[in-house]
Amino acid sequence: MLALDMTFNPAPTTLLQASELALQRGDAWLFKNLSFHVSSGQILWLRGQNGRGKTSLLRVLVGLAQPERGTLAWSNSNLANESSSKAVYIGHANGLKDELTVLESLQFLARVHGHTLTQTVALAALRHLHIDHCCNRLVRTLSQGQQRRVALARLALETTPNLWVLDEPFDTLDAEGVRIVNHLLSEHLARQGSVVLTSHIPLELMNTKVQQLNLDEVNR
Protein backbone atom coordinates (compact mmCIF):
# COMPACT_ATOMS: atom_id res chain seq x y z
CA MET A 1 0.00 0.00 0.00
CA LEU A 2 2.67 2.44 1.09
CA ALA A 3 4.84 1.72 -1.92
CA LEU A 4 1.90 2.47 -4.16
CA ASP A 5 1.34 5.82 -2.50
CA MET A 6 4.96 6.83 -2.78
CA THR A 7 5.24 6.44 -6.52
CA PHE A 8 3.14 8.78 -8.57
CA ASN A 9 0.29 6.66 -9.68
CA PRO A 10 -2.69 7.84 -11.66
CA ALA A 11 -4.71 4.92 -10.29
CA PRO A 12 -6.96 6.53 -7.69
CA THR A 13 -6.32 6.00 -4.01
CA THR A 14 -9.21 6.28 -1.61
CA LEU A 15 -9.08 9.59 0.21
CA LEU A 16 -12.17 9.30 2.31
CA GLN A 17 -14.23 6.23 3.08
CA ALA A 18 -17.67 6.73 4.62
CA SER A 19 -19.18 3.56 6.02
CA GLU A 20 -22.76 2.96 7.12
CA LEU A 21 -23.47 6.58 7.95
CA ALA A 22 -26.78 7.31 9.63
CA LEU A 23 -28.05 10.81 10.18
CA GLN A 24 -31.14 12.11 11.87
CA ARG A 25 -32.82 15.48 11.70
CA GLY A 26 -35.40 15.94 14.40
CA ASP A 27 -37.28 12.64 14.48
CA ALA A 28 -36.82 11.82 10.81
CA TRP A 29 -33.96 9.78 9.45
CA LEU A 30 -32.18 11.43 6.53
CA PHE A 31 -30.41 8.18 5.75
CA LYS A 32 -29.69 5.08 7.76
CA ASN A 33 -26.98 3.19 5.98
CA LEU A 34 -24.99 5.29 3.56
CA SER A 35 -21.60 4.13 2.37
CA PHE A 36 -19.45 5.70 -0.30
CA HIS A 37 -15.87 6.65 -0.92
CA VAL A 38 -14.05 9.54 -2.49
CA SER A 39 -10.82 8.84 -4.33
CA SER A 40 -8.11 11.19 -5.44
CA GLY A 41 -8.89 12.83 -8.74
CA GLN A 42 -12.57 12.08 -8.31
CA ILE A 43 -15.60 14.34 -8.05
CA LEU A 44 -18.73 13.27 -6.23
CA TRP A 45 -21.93 15.15 -6.97
CA LEU A 46 -24.49 14.84 -4.21
CA ARG A 47 -27.99 15.07 -5.58
CA GLY A 48 -31.41 15.01 -4.07
CA GLN A 49 -34.44 17.12 -3.42
CA ASN A 50 -34.45 19.94 -0.88
CA GLY A 51 -34.37 18.65 2.66
CA ARG A 52 -32.80 15.30 1.81
CA GLY A 53 -29.75 16.08 3.93
CA LYS A 54 -27.16 17.12 1.35
CA THR A 55 -25.87 20.01 3.44
CA SER A 56 -26.04 17.90 6.61
CA LEU A 57 -23.96 15.21 4.94
CA LEU A 58 -21.35 17.75 3.82
CA ARG A 59 -21.13 19.09 7.37
CA VAL A 60 -20.58 15.56 8.63
CA LEU A 61 -17.82 15.02 6.06
CA VAL A 62 -15.83 18.03 7.25
CA GLY A 63 -16.47 17.27 10.91
CA LEU A 64 -18.81 20.14 11.81
CA ALA A 65 -21.53 17.65 12.71
CA GLN A 66 -21.40 14.10 13.96
CA PRO A 67 -23.36 11.21 12.39
CA GLU A 68 -25.66 9.15 14.61
CA ARG A 69 -23.84 6.02 13.48
CA GLY A 70 -21.15 5.05 11.05
CA THR A 71 -17.56 6.02 10.48
CA LEU A 72 -15.49 8.31 8.30
CA ALA A 73 -11.99 7.13 7.53
CA TRP A 74 -9.47 9.55 6.06
CA SER A 75 -6.37 8.28 4.38
CA ASN A 76 -3.62 10.39 5.87
CA SER A 77 -1.30 10.30 2.90
CA ASN A 78 -0.62 13.90 2.03
CA LEU A 79 -3.33 16.05 3.45
CA ALA A 80 -3.67 15.33 7.13
CA ASN A 81 -0.60 17.36 7.97
CA GLU A 82 -0.64 19.32 11.16
CA SER A 83 -0.62 22.89 9.96
CA SER A 84 -3.45 23.08 7.46
CA SER A 85 -7.03 21.91 7.55
CA LYS A 86 -8.06 18.52 6.25
CA ALA A 87 -10.50 19.79 3.68
CA VAL A 88 -11.55 23.08 2.15
CA TYR A 89 -15.17 23.67 3.05
CA ILE A 90 -17.24 26.44 1.53
CA GLY A 91 -20.76 26.30 2.83
CA HIS A 92 -23.92 28.28 2.15
CA ALA A 93 -22.51 31.15 4.20
CA ASN A 94 -19.49 32.74 2.60
CA GLY A 95 -17.49 33.25 5.78
CA LEU A 96 -16.77 36.88 4.95
CA LYS A 97 -17.12 39.77 7.38
CA ASP A 98 -19.30 42.64 6.19
CA GLU A 99 -17.04 45.29 7.72
CA LEU A 100 -13.77 44.00 6.29
CA THR A 101 -12.52 44.71 2.80
CA VAL A 102 -12.43 41.90 0.27
CA LEU A 103 -8.67 41.60 0.57
CA GLU A 104 -8.73 41.58 4.39
CA SER A 105 -11.46 38.93 4.42
CA LEU A 106 -9.60 36.63 2.07
CA GLN A 107 -6.33 37.08 3.94
CA PHE A 108 -8.01 36.35 7.26
CA LEU A 109 -9.60 33.14 5.94
CA ALA A 110 -6.32 31.98 4.41
CA ARG A 111 -4.39 32.67 7.63
CA VAL A 112 -6.98 30.88 9.74
CA HIS A 113 -6.46 27.83 7.58
CA GLY A 114 -2.71 28.00 7.96
CA HIS A 115 -1.63 29.66 4.72
CA THR A 116 0.57 32.70 4.83
CA LEU A 117 -0.87 34.91 2.17
CA THR A 118 0.89 37.83 0.57
CA GLN A 119 -1.13 40.57 -1.01
CA THR A 120 0.15 39.61 -4.48
CA VAL A 121 -1.04 36.02 -4.13
CA ALA A 122 -4.39 37.14 -2.74
CA LEU A 123 -4.84 39.56 -5.63
CA ALA A 124 -3.96 36.85 -8.13
CA ALA A 125 -6.64 34.60 -6.62
CA LEU A 126 -9.18 37.41 -6.80
CA ARG A 127 -8.17 38.12 -10.38
CA HIS A 128 -8.79 34.46 -11.17
CA LEU A 129 -12.42 35.00 -10.16
CA HIS A 130 -12.52 38.39 -11.97
CA ILE A 131 -13.25 40.21 -8.73
CA ASP A 132 -9.89 41.89 -8.10
CA HIS A 133 -11.27 45.33 -8.99
CA CYS A 134 -13.30 45.17 -5.74
CA CYS A 135 -10.33 44.27 -3.53
CA ASN A 136 -10.47 47.39 -1.36
CA ARG A 137 -14.25 47.58 -1.06
CA LEU A 138 -16.06 46.52 2.08
CA VAL A 139 -17.69 43.11 1.69
CA ARG A 140 -21.13 44.50 2.54
CA THR A 141 -21.05 46.80 -0.50
CA LEU A 142 -20.73 43.79 -2.83
CA SER A 143 -23.61 41.95 -4.45
CA GLN A 144 -24.41 38.36 -3.43
CA GLY A 145 -22.75 36.98 -6.54
CA GLN A 146 -19.65 39.10 -6.01
CA GLN A 147 -19.42 37.93 -2.38
CA ARG A 148 -19.69 34.33 -3.60
CA ARG A 149 -16.81 34.93 -5.97
CA VAL A 150 -14.67 36.26 -3.11
CA ALA A 151 -15.46 33.17 -1.02
CA LEU A 152 -14.62 30.91 -3.96
CA ALA A 153 -11.34 32.77 -4.54
CA ARG A 154 -10.04 30.58 -1.71
CA LEU A 155 -10.14 27.69 -4.17
CA ALA A 156 -7.79 29.54 -6.50
CA LEU A 157 -5.26 29.69 -3.62
CA GLU A 158 -5.16 25.93 -3.23
CA THR A 159 -2.29 23.99 -4.74
CA THR A 160 -2.43 20.72 -2.79
CA PRO A 161 -4.52 17.73 -3.94
CA ASN A 162 -6.81 17.84 -0.92
CA LEU A 163 -10.58 17.43 -0.63
CA TRP A 164 -12.89 20.30 -1.49
CA VAL A 165 -16.32 20.17 0.08
CA LEU A 166 -18.57 22.72 -1.60
CA ASP A 167 -22.19 23.43 -0.77
CA GLU A 168 -23.92 24.88 -3.84
CA PRO A 169 -20.80 26.68 -5.10
CA PHE A 170 -22.65 27.98 -8.17
CA ASP A 171 -25.35 29.59 -6.06
CA THR A 172 -25.85 33.27 -7.13
CA LEU A 173 -23.02 33.09 -9.67
CA ASP A 174 -23.54 34.34 -13.22
CA ALA A 175 -22.66 32.30 -16.33
CA GLU A 176 -19.10 33.57 -16.37
CA GLY A 177 -18.66 32.72 -12.67
CA VAL A 178 -19.98 29.21 -13.25
CA ARG A 179 -17.48 28.73 -16.08
CA ILE A 180 -14.58 29.91 -13.90
CA VAL A 181 -15.53 27.61 -11.03
CA ASN A 182 -15.93 24.66 -13.39
CA HIS A 183 -12.44 25.41 -14.65
CA LEU A 184 -11.05 25.55 -11.08
CA LEU A 185 -12.69 22.19 -10.35
CA SER A 186 -11.15 20.65 -13.49
CA GLU A 187 -7.71 21.93 -12.53
CA HIS A 188 -8.05 20.54 -9.03
CA LEU A 189 -9.12 17.12 -10.32
CA ALA A 190 -6.23 17.14 -12.79
CA ARG A 191 -3.76 17.47 -9.89
CA GLN A 192 -5.43 14.45 -8.26
CA GLY A 193 -7.47 16.50 -5.84
CA SER A 194 -11.00 15.46 -4.92
CA VAL A 195 -14.30 17.27 -4.72
CA VAL A 196 -17.62 16.57 -3.04
CA LEU A 197 -20.30 19.08 -3.90
CA THR A 198 -23.97 19.77 -4.17
CA SER A 199 -25.31 21.69 -7.12
CA HIS A 200 -28.62 22.27 -8.81
CA ILE A 201 -27.02 22.90 -12.17
CA PRO A 202 -25.09 20.22 -14.08
CA LEU A 203 -21.31 20.33 -14.00
CA GLU A 204 -19.25 20.92 -17.10
CA LEU A 205 -15.84 19.46 -16.48
CA MET A 206 -13.03 18.55 -18.82
CA ASN A 207 -11.83 14.93 -19.01
CA THR A 208 -13.54 13.84 -15.83
CA LYS A 209 -16.42 11.54 -15.18
CA VAL A 210 -18.66 12.89 -12.47
CA GLN A 211 -19.68 10.32 -9.86
CA GLN A 212 -23.19 10.85 -8.57
CA LEU A 213 -24.78 10.00 -5.28
CA ASN A 214 -28.52 10.55 -5.25
CA LEU A 215 -29.92 10.87 -1.74
CA ASP A 216 -33.46 10.43 -3.12
CA GLU A 217 -32.57 6.85 -3.97
CA VAL A 218 -30.97 5.81 -0.69
CA ASN A 219 -33.10 3.88 1.69
CA ARG A 220 -34.38 5.84 4.68
Binding site: L64, Q66, A87, N94, L96, E99, H113
Partner: protein, 224 residues
Protein backbone atom coordinates in the same frame (compact mmCIF):
# COMPACT_ATOMS: atom_id res chain seq x y z
CA UNK B 1 0.88 28.17 11.88
CA UNK B 2 1.76 28.49 15.55
CA UNK B 3 -1.19 28.43 17.88
CA UNK B 4 -0.51 31.77 19.54
CA UNK B 5 -0.95 33.39 16.16
CA UNK B 6 -4.63 32.55 16.03
CA UNK B 7 -5.09 34.74 19.10
CA UNK B 8 -3.35 37.76 17.59
CA UNK B 9 -5.05 37.12 14.25
CA UNK B 10 -8.52 36.95 15.77
CA UNK B 11 -8.01 39.82 18.22
CA UNK B 12 -6.66 42.07 15.49
CA UNK B 13 -9.58 41.23 13.22
CA UNK B 14 -12.16 41.86 15.95
CA UNK B 15 -10.55 45.14 16.98
CA UNK B 16 -10.54 46.22 13.35
CA UNK B 17 -14.22 45.28 13.05
CA UNK B 18 -14.95 47.26 16.23
CA UNK B 19 -13.09 50.27 14.86
CA UNK B 20 -15.36 50.20 11.80
CA UNK B 21 -18.48 49.99 13.96
CA UNK B 22 -17.62 52.71 16.44
CA UNK B 23 -21.16 53.31 17.69
CA UNK B 24 -21.43 49.64 18.71
CA UNK B 25 -17.95 49.68 20.22
CA UNK B 26 -18.49 52.78 22.35
CA UNK B 27 -21.98 51.84 23.49
CA UNK B 28 -20.94 49.93 26.66
CA UNK B 29 -18.69 52.67 28.02
CA UNK B 30 -21.20 55.41 27.18
CA UNK B 31 -23.90 53.36 28.90
CA UNK B 32 -21.63 52.98 31.93
CA UNK B 33 -21.00 56.72 32.22
CA UNK B 34 -24.62 57.72 31.63
CA UNK B 35 -26.09 55.09 33.98
CA UNK B 36 -23.72 55.88 36.85
CA UNK B 37 -24.27 59.62 36.45
CA UNK B 38 -28.03 59.17 36.67
CA UNK B 39 -27.86 57.96 40.27
CA UNK B 40 -26.79 61.28 41.87
CA UNK B 41 -29.63 62.96 39.98
CA UNK B 42 -32.16 60.45 41.24
CA UNK B 43 -30.93 60.07 44.79
CA UNK B 44 -30.00 63.68 45.47
CA UNK B 45 -26.72 65.44 46.19
CA UNK B 46 -26.19 63.97 49.67
CA UNK B 47 -22.40 63.39 49.56
CA UNK B 48 -22.26 60.82 52.36
CA UNK B 49 -24.99 58.66 50.85
CA UNK B 50 -23.46 58.86 47.40
CA UNK B 51 -20.02 57.98 48.68
CA UNK B 52 -21.45 54.96 50.43
CA UNK B 53 -23.41 53.56 47.51
CA UNK B 54 -20.97 54.55 44.74
CA UNK B 55 -19.00 51.26 44.62
CA UNK B 56 -22.21 49.24 44.38
CA UNK B 57 -23.60 51.48 41.64
CA UNK B 58 -20.38 51.36 39.63
CA UNK B 59 -20.17 47.58 39.89
CA UNK B 60 -23.78 47.03 38.90
CA UNK B 61 -23.42 49.38 35.94
CA UNK B 62 -20.15 47.69 34.92
CA UNK B 63 -21.93 44.34 35.03
CA UNK B 64 -24.83 45.57 32.91
CA UNK B 65 -22.65 47.36 30.38
CA UNK B 66 -20.56 44.20 29.92
CA UNK B 67 -23.77 42.28 29.17
CA UNK B 68 -24.89 44.90 26.65
CA UNK B 69 -22.71 43.81 23.74
CA UNK B 70 -22.68 40.08 24.40
CA UNK B 71 -25.42 38.99 22.02
CA UNK B 72 -23.30 39.89 18.99
CA UNK B 73 -20.09 38.31 20.31
CA UNK B 74 -20.55 35.01 18.46
CA UNK B 75 -23.85 35.65 16.67
CA UNK B 76 -22.37 37.62 13.76
CA UNK B 77 -19.57 35.08 13.23
CA UNK B 78 -22.20 32.35 13.35
CA UNK B 79 -24.47 34.07 10.85
CA UNK B 80 -21.86 34.88 8.20
CA UNK B 81 -20.10 31.51 8.36
CA UNK B 82 -16.87 32.79 9.93
CA UNK B 83 -17.42 30.63 12.99
CA UNK B 84 -17.63 27.39 11.03
CA UNK B 85 -14.46 28.34 9.16
CA UNK B 86 -12.72 28.99 12.49
CA UNK B 87 -13.92 25.66 13.83
CA UNK B 88 -12.74 23.80 10.73
CA UNK B 89 -9.23 25.15 11.15
CA UNK B 90 -6.75 23.16 13.16
CA UNK B 91 -6.59 25.80 15.89
CA UNK B 92 -7.79 24.98 19.36
CA UNK B 93 -11.28 26.21 20.11
CA UNK B 94 -10.09 27.03 23.62
CA UNK B 95 -7.76 29.70 22.22
CA UNK B 96 -10.46 30.98 19.88
CA UNK B 97 -12.89 31.34 22.80
CA UNK B 98 -10.19 32.97 24.93
CA UNK B 99 -9.39 35.46 22.16
CA UNK B 100 -13.03 36.40 21.75
CA UNK B 101 -13.36 36.99 25.51
CA UNK B 102 -10.14 39.01 25.55
CA UNK B 103 -11.33 41.21 22.69
CA UNK B 104 -14.65 41.74 24.44
CA UNK B 105 -12.74 42.84 27.53
CA UNK B 106 -10.48 45.16 25.52
CA UNK B 107 -13.54 46.86 24.03
CA UNK B 108 -15.90 46.93 27.02
CA UNK B 109 -13.81 46.28 30.15
CA UNK B 110 -10.67 48.33 29.61
CA UNK B 111 -12.36 51.70 28.81
CA UNK B 112 -14.51 51.19 31.90
CA UNK B 113 -11.46 50.73 34.11
CA UNK B 114 -9.85 53.83 32.64
CA UNK B 115 -12.92 55.98 33.22
CA UNK B 116 -13.88 54.62 36.67
CA UNK B 117 -11.39 56.79 38.67
CA UNK B 118 -12.99 59.90 37.16
CA UNK B 119 -16.46 58.68 38.10
CA UNK B 120 -15.17 57.73 41.55
CA UNK B 121 -14.05 61.30 42.13
CA UNK B 122 -17.41 62.49 40.83
CA UNK B 123 -18.99 60.47 43.65
CA UNK B 124 -16.57 62.08 46.12
CA UNK B 125 -14.85 58.79 46.94
CA UNK B 126 -11.53 58.80 48.82
CA UNK B 127 -8.42 58.22 46.76
CA UNK B 128 -7.75 54.88 48.40
CA UNK B 129 -11.31 53.78 47.74
CA UNK B 130 -10.98 54.84 44.09
CA UNK B 131 -7.76 52.85 43.78
CA UNK B 132 -9.42 49.77 45.28
CA UNK B 133 -12.43 50.14 43.01
CA UNK B 134 -10.19 50.38 39.94
CA UNK B 135 -8.11 47.41 41.01
CA UNK B 136 -11.28 45.44 41.66
CA UNK B 137 -12.62 46.31 38.20
CA UNK B 138 -9.27 45.34 36.67
CA UNK B 139 -9.57 41.88 38.22
CA UNK B 140 -13.33 41.56 37.87
CA UNK B 141 -14.22 42.80 34.38
CA UNK B 142 -12.28 39.99 32.61
CA UNK B 143 -14.46 37.54 34.55
CA UNK B 144 -17.56 39.26 33.16
CA UNK B 145 -16.20 38.95 29.61
CA UNK B 146 -15.22 35.30 30.08
CA UNK B 147 -18.58 34.30 31.56
CA UNK B 148 -20.34 36.51 29.01
CA UNK B 149 -18.58 34.64 26.21
CA UNK B 150 -19.90 31.40 27.65
CA UNK B 151 -23.42 32.82 27.78
CA UNK B 152 -23.16 34.08 24.21
CA UNK B 153 -21.99 30.67 23.00
CA UNK B 154 -24.72 28.83 24.90
CA UNK B 155 -27.48 31.01 23.46
CA UNK B 156 -26.15 30.91 19.88
CA UNK B 157 -29.00 30.37 17.46
CA UNK B 158 -31.62 30.77 20.18
CA UNK B 159 -34.39 33.30 19.65
CA UNK B 160 -34.34 36.09 22.24
CA UNK B 161 -30.83 35.01 23.10
CA UNK B 162 -30.01 38.42 24.54
CA UNK B 163 -32.41 38.07 27.45
CA UNK B 164 -31.40 34.48 28.01
CA UNK B 165 -27.74 35.48 28.30
CA UNK B 166 -28.67 37.85 31.14
CA UNK B 167 -30.62 35.15 32.95
CA UNK B 168 -27.79 32.64 32.56
CA UNK B 169 -24.83 34.84 33.32
CA UNK B 170 -25.97 37.46 35.86
CA UNK B 171 -26.31 34.92 38.70
CA UNK B 172 -22.80 33.67 37.97
CA UNK B 173 -21.46 37.22 38.20
CA UNK B 174 -22.91 37.87 41.67
CA UNK B 175 -19.72 36.82 43.56
CA UNK B 176 -17.69 39.36 41.55
CA UNK B 177 -20.23 42.04 42.38
CA UNK B 178 -20.25 41.22 46.09
CA UNK B 179 -16.49 41.05 46.51
CA UNK B 180 -15.81 43.98 44.21
CA UNK B 181 -18.13 46.31 46.08
CA UNK B 182 -17.10 44.69 49.37
CA UNK B 183 -13.45 45.55 48.78
CA UNK B 184 -14.28 49.26 48.59
CA UNK B 185 -16.53 49.08 51.65
CA UNK B 186 -13.69 47.40 53.55
CA UNK B 187 -11.35 50.27 52.67
CA UNK B 188 -14.02 52.77 53.78
CA UNK B 189 -14.27 50.92 57.09
CA UNK B 190 -10.50 51.11 57.50
CA UNK B 191 -9.92 47.40 56.81
CA UNK B 192 -7.69 45.75 54.24
CA UNK B 193 -9.37 44.96 50.88
CA UNK B 194 -6.88 42.18 50.28
CA UNK B 195 -9.20 39.29 51.14
CA UNK B 196 -11.90 40.53 48.76
CA UNK B 197 -9.46 41.18 45.95
CA UNK B 198 -7.78 37.82 46.44
CA UNK B 199 -11.13 36.11 46.08
CA UNK B 200 -11.84 37.98 42.85
CA UNK B 201 -8.36 37.02 41.65
CA UNK B 202 -9.03 33.39 42.45
CA UNK B 203 -12.35 33.58 40.61
CA UNK B 204 -10.55 35.14 37.64
CA UNK B 205 -8.05 32.26 37.51
CA UNK B 206 -10.87 29.74 37.70
CA UNK B 207 -12.95 31.33 34.96
CA UNK B 208 -10.00 31.97 32.64
CA UNK B 209 -9.34 28.24 32.61
CA UNK B 210 -12.91 26.99 32.83
CA UNK B 211 -14.93 29.45 30.77
CA UNK B 212 -13.07 29.10 27.42
CA UNK B 213 -13.25 25.32 27.82
CA UNK B 214 -17.00 25.43 28.41
CA UNK B 215 -17.42 28.03 25.63
CA UNK B 216 -15.60 25.72 23.20
CA UNK B 217 -18.01 22.87 23.99
CA UNK B 218 -20.99 25.18 23.67
CA UNK B 219 -19.77 26.36 20.25
CA UNK B 220 -19.34 22.77 19.08
CA UNK B 221 -22.93 22.02 20.08
CA UNK B 222 -24.21 25.20 18.43
CA UNK B 223 -22.55 24.43 15.10
CA UNK B 224 -23.48 20.73 15.03
Amino acid sequence: MMSHNIMTLLIRRDLRLASRRRTDAFLPVVFFVVATSLFPLGIGPETNTLRQIAPGIMWVCALLSAMLSLNTLYASDHADGSLEQLMLSTHSLFLIAASKALTHWLITGLPLILISPVLGILFDMHLQAVATLTLGLLLGTPILSLLGGLGAALTLGVRNGGVLILLLILPLCIPVLIFGAGAVSAVDAGLSPRAHLSLIGAFLLLTSLGAPLATASALRIAEA
